[in-house]
């Protein structure tokens, strides 16, 4: 039952499904990856059937995430081009964080912050994929210097990604009325008008 047929459609079912494949693989990768990142997180391997299983499974989950992330990248790349309005938005991001979002410049489907998130995640994902292949000893055996470099890059890019995802998830919790877009695809018109006025006008013709 649709509560309000005038709600705006923000995501297609395939887009949502794609996002959740990425999300689930990311969570599993972060938990198993952290276990090898620092001894403090090593007990997390128990979630995967023990440390050896965690080591075996982690790279295959990585392949799943790399492929599904590529899907998201292709779907949303054109919507994430940086514009001067985005840069202005970013320069005023401090106001937004403080909760005064009245004077923020008008934003399309995505604001500058979301676009930065998109590109940082895309770059990190590329780094993770390449470095992950370099250190995947079950299948590959690269030159030792490349493997060492891969280990450093993999750990660093992984830490950046986990930090960014904390921000991503928190932003969705903080901005009320957002999470439903990723559950069933719609947002209210009021939500769109307040947070993404450019997109609101484009969708409603107002």
């Amino acid at each position: 039952m649709i509560r309000d047929p005038k709600d705006l459609k923000r995501y297609e079912p395939q887009e949502r499904a794609n996002h959740w494949v990425v999300g689930i693989s990311f969570i599993l990768l972060a938990l198993s990856g952290l276990a090898f990142f620092h001894p403090a997180f090593f007990p997390l391997t128990q979630l995967f059937g023990g440390p050896t299983w965690a080591r075996i499974i982690h790279p295959y989950l990585g392949v799943l995430m790399a492929i599904s992330f590529l899907g998201l990248f292709v779907r949303f790349r054109h919507l994430n081009k940086m514009t001067p309005a985005d840069k202005e938005w970013l320069s005023k991001a401090q106001n937004m964080v403080n909760g005064n979002d009245h004077d923020m410049p008008e934003q399309g489907k995505y604001n500058g912050g979301q676009k930065v998130m998109f590109w940082v995640m895309a770059i990190c994902m590329a780094l993770m994929t390449v470095s992950g292949v370099l250190i995947w000893r079950a299948w590959f055996g690269f030159d030792i210097t490349l493997v060492r470099l891969g280990a450093v890059v993999h750990a660093a890019a992984g830490a950046v990604m986990i930090g960014m995802i904390f921000v991503h998830v928190y932003a969705a919790i903080w901005v009320k009325g957002t999470i439903r877009a990723m559950w069933y695809g719609t947002v209210t018109r009021a939500w769109a008008k307040q947070h993404h006025r450019g997109w609101y006008r484009q969708m409603t013709g107002k």
Binding site: F36, F42, R55, I56, G99, A151, A155, G163, W174, A190
Partner: protein
């Protein structure tokens, strides 16, 4: 295997101190390259004592057999022909784990207790804790550990820790027919090496010396080399080995800092929520849209 008669001084992926109280003797194996005849008795003794039988390989036209260390060959003789002082020299080096005082394998290992360093200096792999990631290979400055294709565990020379624990010399030492492999306290081995170096110098090897690289804090397997100024002559023995700066960065201070930063982001988000409150859709915008809707209804 856990050996109760040997204290564990350092343990992989463990952030609290291991046993430090008892003071035990630091041991070392000394390989006098100048006295080695390349008979490979040490390889056989290693295979026999440790119950490992590598695949019988094929002849590659050189004396090296097997051609490299494997999960089942923990020591191999490496043969090099070089010309020094207008003379052909046949250098034979017994390769294997150097048992570094600052072991790169142990530093890189993410599995608690898979790699330990005993207080006597032996670095040992405990395969029951090994997860098969190969980080020890990434960390080692001497390219020693090998991952088994059968069980995906890492293997290398244990310096016969099981023998040393009961006051026996390693199997290779026992088997060496020329006395090229010596075993004892590290101090005694240094003294013995000094005598050998003096002898070699008298015989015209001006640059003879002891290989006990300080870049890894010294090793518990040391070499007497006739050309200590050129260790790389001996099948690429590293000139000045140390843990790679990349490995040091990867396993050093960056990770605890990153962990703190991540915790900061997570806690920062929580406290942002409870101090600034949620970002809700303004009542006035909702009313505005409701008004527009009812105006539209009225116009019909």
């Amino acid at each position: 295997m856990a050996l109760q008669s040997l204290d564990i001084k350092q343990r992989s992926a463990t952030t609290t101190p291991s046993t430090q109280v008892r003071e035990t003797l630091e041991i070392a194996k000394l390989i006098d390259v100048s006295a080695c005849i390349g008979c490979k008795a040490c390889q056989v003794a290693c295979s026999e004592w440790n119950d490992i039988r590598d695949e019988i390989g094929t002849c590659h036209g050189v004396y090296d057999n097997p051609m490299d260390l494997t999960a089942k060959s923990w020591t191999v003789m490496r043969f090099t022909e070089v010309e020094q002082n207008n003379k052909l020299e046949w250098l034979i080096r017994k390769d294997g784990c150097m048992h570094c005082a600052d072991p790169g394998c142990l530093k890189a290992c993410p599995a608690p207790g898979a790699i330990v360093q005993y207080s006597n200096g032996i670095v040992d792999f405990h395969q029951e804790n090994c997860i098969g990631c190969g980080y020890c290979v990434t960390g080692c400055p001497f390219n020693i550990p090998r991952i088994s294709k059968e069980d995906s565990k890492a293997y290398k020379c244990s310096l016969c820790s099981d023998r040393v624990a009961v006051n026996q010399a390693p199997a290779c030492v026992k088997a060496c027919p020329t006395g090229a492999i010596q075993f004892g306290s590290k101090e005694d081995m240094k003294d013995y090496a000094a005598k050998r170096v003096t002898d070699l110098k008298e015989r015209g090897y001006e640059q003879a010396g002891l290989y006990d690289p300080q870049g890894v804090g010294g090793t518990h397997v040391m070499y007497v080399l006739h050309h200590a100024d050129k260790p790389d002559l001996y099948a690429g023995l590293p000139v000045n080995p140390s843990i790679s700066p990349l490995v040091a960065l990867w396993k050093g201070f960056a990770k605890p800092l990153a962990t703190l930063a991540l915790a900061g982001v997570a806690l920062g988000s929580l406290f942002h929520y409870v101090t600034k409150g949620p970002n809700e859709v303004a009542k006035e915008i909702e009313d505005e849209i409701e008004r527009e809707d009812s105006e539209k209804e009225g116009a019909k």
